[in-house]
């Protein structure tokens, strides 16, 4: 479960790490000479390492090249190669290519839910919300304990304005992960001082932030209803609160620009 969570969050973050859109070098003939006489396994792991290091250094195109060596020359059935390349394509905003790679993964390994989850995120970035919903539905249909998919589907529902469904998914994510019990424990006023926190995945806190965003959106809806009905006699404090929220949803909490997961600060780095 932990690994799955990591994968999903990575893709979410990939969406928000807006890197430079680099020229593609896909037309060049592939040159992958390393360990040419070695075993397929050895060559694959070598290029995985190379791709990881290039990605780590921000050399997205070179990292893509490394994974292309794997899937187009060394082992066209190597699922992690497509997954990694798709993530890099996503980072480069080459969404069509990313979807192609996720499709290839699904062809090769139809039960690999991470591919559906990640493809759903790319669809969301393309504003193909129905396709995104279908992918998250598929994941949750196959594994009702897939916490990240609840979060991601909630995002889509929120973008579509279906706050009730979004809240239901987020509450389900909290319930499935058990993070609510953890929170209750670490905030228990009777907890002896100096007690060590229980181990938990900090990424499971994400639904709380998403809920906060959605409740904020609902608050804004209510403020706007009040302001519309009250007109010039409306309370200045409500005007101010509504203006503040509207500004946030126009900029850092904008729901439809594919980056708001990040601006909602659900990075594993932030913990």
């Amino acid at each position: 479960m932990k690994k799955r969570v990591i994968i999903s969050l990575v893709v979410i973050l990939v969406l928000v790490m807006v890197g430079p859109v680099l020229a593609q070098d896909d037309d060049k003939e592939l040159d992958c000479p390393a360990f040419a006489n070695s075993s397929t396994e050895n060559r694959v792991t070598y290029y995985v390492g190379e791709g990881m290091a290039y990605a780590d250094s921000g050399q997205v195109s070179r990292a893509i090249y490394s994974y292309t060596c794997i899937v187009e020359l060394i082992d066209p059935t190597y699922v992690p190669g497509y997954m990694a390349r798709a993530m890099l394509y996503t980072q480069r905003h080459d969404y069509e290519l990313a979807v192609e790679d996720f499709n290839r993964v699904i062809d090769l390994q139809p039960d690999f839910l991470a591919a559906y989850n990640n493809r759903g995120i790319v669809y969301a970035a393309q504003q193909e919300y129905e396709l995104a919903l279908a992918d998250f539905d598929h994941v949750l249909g196959a594994d009702s304990g897939y916490v990240i998919a609840y979060n991601n589907r909630a995002v889509i529902y929120a973008i579509l304005g279906d706050y009730d469904q979004a809240i239901a998914d987020l509450e389900q994510a909290i319930s499935v992960s058990g993070i609510d019990a953890i929170y209750a424990e670490i905030t228990d006023p009777d907890r002896p001082a100096g007690t060590e926190d229980p181990e938990y995945n900090p990424n499971h806190a994400q639904p709380y932030a998403l809920l906060g965003i959605i409740y904020s959106a609902q608050a804004l809806d209510n403020y706007e209803a009040y302001l519309r009905l009250k007109g010039s006699q409306s309370d200045a404090r409500i005007q101010s609160a509504a203006g503040s929220l509207e500004s946030r949803f126009t900029f850092e909490l904008r729901l439809d620009d594919g980056t708001w997961l990040f601006t909602a600060a659900f990075s594993p780095i932030a913990g």
């Binding site: 990575v10 390393a34 792991t45 995985v48 390492g49 990881m52 070179r62 993530m87």
Partner: protein, 241 residues
């Protein structure tokens, strides 16, 4: 299932790297765990090391190779590549230790002979360098790189004929290998300078080259080739009286 586990592991690692803070700023504090989990194969670390090396980050490359060796201390490519990174950092002792260890593990490693030969070449130990490149060629007669590098030693020793022969062989073995062509040009340039010096020795002190300084001749030749103008050669003619 094993494949899926590896997939998840690698993706997890990739994700960690993608989202990591710029770790290169704190390389001295980095450990293998910062690069990848201890469960990955040594070849993955070598791939990482090669990528860091290609970007000029020898320190991080050395860490990656060392991590590979922590996984498998008999993995020859990690010694070979780490040795070369040490060589680039002018840490000759560490470089030689790594090349020697690689050859202890695989006495037919042409890469290890080649890189140790480069170390000896950089130190001016031409005899040892020639020996290593020749051993590499012995183990792999099609190893164009060793022919090329042996040519460098010959050139450093001013044995230009031998250098030319090795370079021609490297080109024959691998026509797509660019380096020998550049080296060939450099060898011809060195031969040109020697010839100009011989001219000066015979013509006497203060005698000017017929075509001007070597750079001028080279530039005139370049222009002549570009414009199909053969007149540069007329400068050098010798009339009969």
């Amino acid at each position: 299932m094993k494949r899926l586990t590896i997939c998840l592991m690698i993706l997890g690692v990739l994700g960690t790297l993608l989202i990591a803070l710029p770790i290169t700023s704190a390389q001295s504090e980095m450990t293998c765990d910062d690069l990848a989990p201890a469960t990955v194969p040594a070849s993955l670390f070598v791939g990482m090391g090669d990528a860091y090396f290609a970007q000029g980050d020898q320190t991080l490359a050395i860490l990656a190779y060392t991590c590979g060796l922590a996984q498998d201390d008999t993995y020859t490519p990690a010694y070979v590549n780490r040795g070369f990174a040490h060589l680039v950092q002018h840490n000759d002792t560490a470089a030689e230790d790594d090349f020697n260890r690689a050859l202890e593990l695989d006495d037919a490693s042409v890469a290890a002979y080649n890189n140790r030969g480069l170390l000896y070449l950089s130190q001016g130990n031409f005899g040892l360098a020639i020996t290593d490149f020749t051993l590499a060629i012995t183990f792999d007669p099609n190893y164009a790189i060793a022919y090329h590098n042996r040519a460098l030693v010959h050139a450093a020793e001013r044995n230009y004929d031998l250098a030319l022969a090795d370079l021609q062989q490297a080109i024959v073995l691998d026509p797509e290998y660019a380096a020998p062509h550049a080296t060939l040009g450099a060898v011809y340039a060195a031969m040109a300078l020697e010839s100009y010096q011989t001219y000066a020795d015979i013509a006497g002190e203060g005698a000017r080259l017929p075509g001007g300084e070597p750079d001028s001749i080279l530039n005139a030749q370049k222009r002549g080739l570009e414009t199909n103008d053969f007149s540069i050669w007329l400068i050098f003619w010798t009339p009969a009286y």
